[in-house]
């Protein structure tokens, strides 16, 4: 009689422990799930702010690159001026070319897209059409 009572108590004690563990598990899951939802909701504005900052940084980097490009262009123009002076320092630079060759040279250059809109090329095209 007493043994069966102890067995009954032990059985229900184990059941209660199991239910308690299950209950704690459910509470932990609900907490974790809500935390994940809150974390995801907070992530969106944070992500937007991070992207905005990245875009601003990319923009300023692009401005710097364009600024450096202008500096490089100025350096190139300076080199061209120096080279021009060197070429002009030689007496042979004044040697005249055959006019037919010079005309063919200019017309050849004007055939390229990058030169087609030069005023000289436009002038040559107009003289052709007359």
């Amino acid at each position: 009689m007493l043994n069966s009572f102890y067995a009954w108590v032990a059985k229900w004690f184990i059941v209660l422990i199991g239910v308690g563990i299950l209950f704690l598990g459910i509470i932990a899951y609900v907490w974790w799930h809500n935390h994940q939802i809150a974390k995801n909701a907070a992530a969106l504005p944070k992500a937007q702010a991070t992207i905005n900052a990245a875009q601003a940084n990319a923009g300023s980097a692009a401005v710097n690159t364009v600024g450096e490009n202008q500096q490089k262009n100025a350096n190139t123009d300076r080199t061209t001026t120096q080279v021009t002076n060197v070429y002009n320092s030689y007496p042979q630079a004044k040697v005249t070319l055959d006019p037919g060759f010079f005309d063919a040279f200019n017309r050849g250059i004007c055939m390229y897209k990058s030169a087609a809109n030069l005023p000289e090329c436009v002038g040559l095209q107009q003289s052709n059409s007359k």
Partner: protein, 64 residues
């Protein structure tokens, strides 16, 4: 990038100067290409870095 202006006079010097100026224009065009690639690469790297910052954390990372 537009071509250098055509030679102003019918002389050897002007032709040579045109060649130099045209090479300068080529440099500018090449610089522009390099700069475009730089801008694009910077933009991509910054956005990639931003994306990594808000990538989902693992499920066991409770406290963040």
């Amino acid at each position: 990038v537009e071509s250098a202006p055509l030679p102003k006079a019918n002389t050897v010097g002007e032709l040579a100067i045109f060649g130099a100026a045209q090479t300068g224009q080529l440099d500018k065009a090449n610089d522009r290409t390099a700069d475009t690639i730089t801008i694009y690469t910077n933009c991509e790297a910054l956005l990639k870095n931003a994306a990594e910052q808000f990538a989902p954390k693992p499920w066991y990372d409770f406290w963040d």
